[in-house]
């Protein structure tokens, strides 16, 4: 086959991407206090500003613990999106101020990826953020993006944690203060640092029964003032204890058994051991990050065009070593729970299979497979959660590791006897929120993109059967499958 190359690869990405649907000087992701304040400040300084917040999220997403660990404890009201939109708007008076300042505000809109040119990609016409609401996805160009995505719940596995009623502190706060849609009545709180104490006090203030706090260390960990307030509210802190089991029925949790054997009745177990700055967008764009134990974990290192504010930039530094505290919890929970405790809920991976590096149950485990484990893998190199994820599927489910990423890294650190910071975190990739194909879809694709689309590289010689080379079939092949590609 004679080919005359004209200097252009018609199947390459060059020039095929659409321009963004809109452009703003500043895009702020997250309309909590710090995000809204940043938006107002930017608008006041004369910038065009878009402020997006994923809340209210749909009932279906909440059921998948997106973006927080809701644990199925939201009321039926969350199915009513208009009512939730109103609740969210009413709960944040600053939003109205932002709108008055000229900020464009979009609620129910998530940011699922930030893209810019850099190592490995030069084809983007400009830097964009991908957004989606309940009906479509689109791209928005920006000069500067401010991440005010807050912090998400650290989830830790114990027997029975994979049932409705086990949830996170940030989700509890969200349901109580913004959605006004919390379905529980009797809450047991895990942890006794400020987050746990504040969660208990908030629940108590809202008229809920707080069944107690459980603290793995020998004394309450939070500020003396908060500890005193909890005591004054008549709430017990069970120190030197961990949770051994959550018992429940079809409605979910009904009681918790502590490591001492004591049984505490509750319909909700609120994990308040820690919050993790929500840095998914930064991670997915290969943004720099640093691990700061006193600020809750990995935080964005900060750049001019991509900055972080609020808890996304790190928890308030009180000198408390959050990592050491979490590691104490994970160790204690591992000690009191059986190996078959589920660690990854989406993929139902047990701790034994995670640390045994075993495949999911639908695959055979012949003898050589059973002989493999984290121990044998460590002989070849340091533990890497992405590798272990691909083998065990832990963190590969629809929540993309939001519920297990941190604990997997901690379990690996413990098993490998290495400090937490030496274990890489499983990577985040876009979309950092699950988004249906039909919503993610670009239904208004550029003509250039459609024209360039080939199943693979569009190399006219690549798929010619070896038997056909040098026969007339070769030209038939090109005529039928590559018309117009090359001269």
């Amino acid at each position: 086959m004679e080919l005359n190359f004209a200097g252009t690869d018609l199947c390459a990405i060059n020039g095929t991407r659409s321009a963004p649907d809109a452009r703003y000087d500043v895009v702020v992701v997250g309309a909590g206090c710090s995000g809204t304040a940043a938006a107002i400040a930017a608008a006041t300084a004369g910038s065009s500003v878009l402020l997006v917040d994923e809340n209210p999220v749909s009932g279906a997403l909440m059921g998948n613990d997106v973006p927080l660990y809701f644990g199925g404890r939201m009321t039926a009201a969350t199915q009513n999106s208009e009512r939730m939109l109103e609740a969210i708007f009413m709960s944040a008076p600053a939003l109205e101020q932002a709108m008055e300042a000229g900020v464009e505000v979009l609620l129910g809109t998530s940011a699922w990826g930030v893209y810019r040119n850099g190592p490995g990609v030069s084809s983007l016409p400009e830097q964009v953020v991908g957004l989606a609401d309940a009906s479509r996805s689109w791209l928005v160009g920006f000069e500067r993006i401010v991440l005010a995505t807050g912090a998400r719940d650290l989830a830790l596995a114990f027997p029975g944690w994979n049932q409705p009623g086990v949830m996170g502190a940030a989700a509890l706060r969200m349901l109580l203060t913004r959605y006004d849609a919390f379905a529980g009545r009797r809450v047991l709180v895990l942890g006794s640092h400020d987050l746990a104490l504040e969660s208990a006090l908030l629940a108590h203030d809202r008229g809920l029964k707080v069944a107690g706090l459980v603290e793995v260390r020998d004394a309450p960990q939070g500020s003396a003032d908060l500890v005193a307030q909890v005591a004054a509210a008549g709430i017990a802190i069970h120190c030197g204890q961990t949770i051994a089991l959550a018992k429940g029925g079809i409605e979910g949790v009904e009681a918790a058994t502590l490591s001492s054997g004591e049984v505490i009745l509750c319909d909700t177990i609120c994990m308040a051991v820690g919050l993790v700055p929500s840095i998914e967008l930064v991670d997915a764009m290969h943004g720099p990050r640093t691990l700061i134990a006193t600020r809750g974990g990995y935080i964005p290192a900060g750049e001019e065009t991509v900055s972080a504010v609020g808890s996304c930039a790190g928890l308030a530094d009180t000198g408390f070593d959050h990592i050491a505290y979490r590691m104490d919890w994970v160790r204690a929970l591992s000690d009191v729970s059986a190996d078959d405790t589920i660690v990854c809920q989406c993929e139902e991976v047990t701790r034994a299979d995670l640390l045994g590096v075993q495949p999911p149950n639908y695959l055979a485990r012949p003898a050589p497979m059973c002989a493999r484990s984290l121990e044998t893998l460590l002989v070849d190199g340091p533990a890497n959660p992405d590798q272990i994820k691909r083998l065990t599927r832990a963190g590969m489910g629809v929540c993309q590791g939001r519920r297990c990423r941190d604990q997997v890294a901690m379990l690996l650190a413990i098993a490998a006897d290495r400090p937490f910071g030496t274990i890489p975190l499983a990577t985040h990739r876009a979309p950092v929120r699950p988004i249906p194909l039909k919503i993610m879809a670009d239904w208004h694709e550029s003509e250039a993109m459609s024209a360039a689309w080939d199943v693979w590289f569009g190399i006219p010689t690549q798929w010619v059967p070896v038997e056909d080379i040098g026969t007339p079939h070769e030209d038939e092949h090109r005529a039928m499958l590559y018309t117009g590609m090359y001269e």
């Binding site: 095929t16 850099g118 485990r365 012949p366 050589p368 493999r372 979309p431 249906p436």
Partner: protein, 378 residues
């Protein structure tokens, strides 16, 4: 200096399969990788294994159904593929391909819309028909990579990770050792299967290997109900349903990129995800409500004709080079066998692979990349 009879540079599917085949023949092998096995293209591809265009096809087709047993570890291999036409033009093209397979003796059936939906319940009545390949199949990339690596170790081979090969020691027309920053590995023979880094490594031996690197992207959804046939292509997409049920798909425009001699710094995916999503929602309309949960990209090296290069050099004469030009996952059981044969016997025992030799590029124009437009965007 530690060493082995054969040192293999690159722990992707190609290098690992070659190592496994050599170990099966009783040869002492060491595979050296700059990172974790399969971390580049080999662990992030579409898993397709139906390369009818290749002289290695029959061996690929013969071996895959046996691989779990031969390796002793699961690869998630599943047989057969269906390709669905979503336009008049695609229908014409895919039937042409079906006709060609018949002519070549590869078993195929042309399916009407109803038959497509029976075999692929997520398909809709928006298609024109399909072609069922009663050959080929697909497997799980990273699981397969790890299976080769473990099987090779079980046979006494060695894997060295996180150790980039920086060069070679040569003496009297042979490579005598492979050097990394940390160590030097003595050897009788060398296999270079370093993916995009192959060209730079071979240049150190004075051998020009014409390769251009590109980035390609994929997306994956949450699990869908299991379909009878998981290898479903069409609408100019390739992909598979994993054994967990997820739909993993790729296709569409690639980006030519420069890759550092030490490997890619990052493997970013882009908003191309949205174009993959729209096509997948059309190809499998009953899956359109499923969540996309991840996207990723990998780097592929292509030869000027898009065919693999598998060759044993004449000087130095103890080096085999293998670069798979974007079709290397599926071919890996066969490419490893061919490489084993070249290392031990100097010739491939089961097929004439002359077309994969380097000599075909002897008269390549120096500006072959510019001519094809295979240049990074400046």
């Amino acid at each position: 200096m530690s060493g082995a009879e054969v040192v293999i540079v690159g722990g992707g599917v190609t290098g690992l399969s070659a190592g496994w085949w050599l170990a099966r023949s009783g040869v002492k092998v060491t595979v050296v990788d700059k990172g974790i096995v399969g971390w580049e293209a080999s662990g992030r591809n579409g898993g397709g294994a139906s390369h009818y265009q290749s002289p290695l096809f029959e061996e690929e087709h013969r071996l895959w159904p046996q691989m779990d047993e031969l390796l002793g570890y699961p690869t998630e291999h599943r047989k057969e593929r269906i390709i669905i036409a979503m336009s008049e033009r695609q229908w014409e093209q895919y039937r042409f391909v079906a006709e060609r397979h018949r002519r070549l003796g590869h078993p195929v059936e042309v399916l009407d819309v109803k038959q497509v939906q029976d075999a692929v319940p997520l398909a809709g009545d928006n298609c024109f028909g399909g072609v069922h390949y009663r050959f080929g199949g697909h497997a799980n990339p990273q699981r397969t990579v790890q299976a080769y690596a473990w099987a090779l170790q079980d046979l006494g081979g060695t894997i060295v990770q996180h150790n980039a090969v920086t060069g070679f020691e040569t003496a009297s027309g042979k490579v005598t050792a492979v050097k990394t920053g940390a160590a030097s590995y003595g050897c009788d023979s060398v296999v270079v299967a370093a993916g995009p880094q192959t060209a730079a490594l071979m240049a150190q031996l004075g051998i020009a290997v014409p390769l251009a690197n590109a980035r390609a992207e994929m997306i994956i959804t949450e699990p869908a109900p299991m379909m009878p046939i998981g290898g479903v292509d069409g609408h100019k997409l390739y992909g598979r349903q994993t054994m967990r049920g997820n739909l993993a798909y790729g296709g569409g425009p690639h980006e030519w990129i420069d890759v550092d001699a030490t490997g890619p710094v990052a493997r970013p995916s882009t908003p191309l995800m949205r174009n993959l999503a729209s096509r997948l929602a059309e190809l499998l309309p009953k899956a359109a409500h499923l969540n996309v949960i991840r996207s990723w990209a990998g780097v592929i090296e292509n030869s000027p004709d898009g065919r693999p290069i598998i060759d044993r050099l004449t000087s130095p004469d103890n080096v085999v080079v293998a670069s798979m030009s974007g079709v290397g996952f599926g071919l890996s059981p066969a490419s490893g066998h061919a490489i084993r044969d070249l290392v031990l016997d100097g010739t491939c025992s089961f097929s004439d692979i002359g077309i994969l030799g380097l000599s075909r590029f002897a008269n390549l124009e120096p500006d072959w990349r510019e001519k094809r437009g295979w240049m990074p965007i400046s």
